[in-house]
Symmetry: C2
Subunit: 174 residues, 2 copies
């Protein structure tokens, strides 16, 4: 049905680029929406909205002050991506099955994730139990849950399309 990424604990300046990368990765790998929590940062929202405008699709970026309400009131599955969680391979089939008929909220930290996130999540999932990156976690998670053909179909009404090329840059403007 669809996947929303909830990015917790955003801090202006320090997290600006990582959060932007989380959002662009969410879009590129087929999520419907990213919700940013923490400090309100119009810069990130505008820069991601600009990419959406240029490269097409209906991806939404929103800011929410009350992330607790979003998790607690979520009507579908809540998956917390954390290096402490269960191995992705063990739960991927269940999550994939859910994606066919319900909404998924995938939650990523933030420097310090409050303990209730671990409790409220239906699944705490590790993409490898090593420290790495919320950007990497979002990419791998989405890539394994959403079919590539489904992702490709999302980028409608683009002003620019990149044409795959063995050398150099080919961009078509519409």
């Amino acid at each position: 049905m669809g996947i929303t990424i909830l990015r917790l604990g955003h801090r202006i300046i320090r997290d600006q680029r990582i959060t932007t990368h989380v959002a662009l990765t969410a879009r590129a790998f087929g999520a419907d929406r990213v919700i940013i929590s923490g400090e309100k940062d119009d810069g990130v929202v505008h820069s991601v909205a600009g990419v959406c405008e240029e490269f097409g699709g209906d991806f939404a970026i929103e800011y929410a002050k009350d992330w607790r309400a979003i998790i607690k009131e979520w009507k579908g599955l809540v998956v917390h991506l954390t290096m402490y969680g269960m191995q992705f391979n063990e739960v991927i089939q269940e999550i994939r099955a859910h994606e066919k008929h319900g909404e998924i909220l995938a939650v990523v930290g933030g420097s310090k994730v409050p303990p209730e996130v671990y409790d409220w999540a239906d699944y705490n999932v590790a993409i490898g139990n090593q420290p790495h990156s919320e950007v990497a976690a979002v990419a791998v998670f989405l890539r394994e849950i959403i079919d590539e053909e489904e992702v490709e179909r999302k980028f409608k009404d683009a002003k620019k399309t990149i044409v795959p090329s063995p050398k150099g840059k080919k961009v078509v403007e519409h």
Copy 2:
């Protein structure tokens, strides 16, 4: 045989966290080494070296001033990860076959990638032809080239190991 990630055009302060995430992602998904080019930044090198020390393995992080020499003198395959490249699915089998018997250098930008990188690379490869993140590109590339069992074996002599857990954090100290 092994994969080295070359990160081009690092800028102190602005790229510090993205480059750190590139390096940690490279390590977590099974690369042997990251080489950082651009501005010399001991902070990134130390913080990644600290994670390696704690969580084990032989991952190396290095700084190189002359990235041109590294690409030109590379004895194996050079793969440039760029949103303008050929679709990953079309070349993945060839790259995977190469990985069994030779070294791979995977190159990621940097804000502006000089045109010669496109020319010198054996493959310019896009993980989806949408703008996203060099962190995401490194994660997906490595995950599809290196077997997970092989990755797991790399983290020897760790001082800390995370134990996969459905709730909360379990860490074993050795």
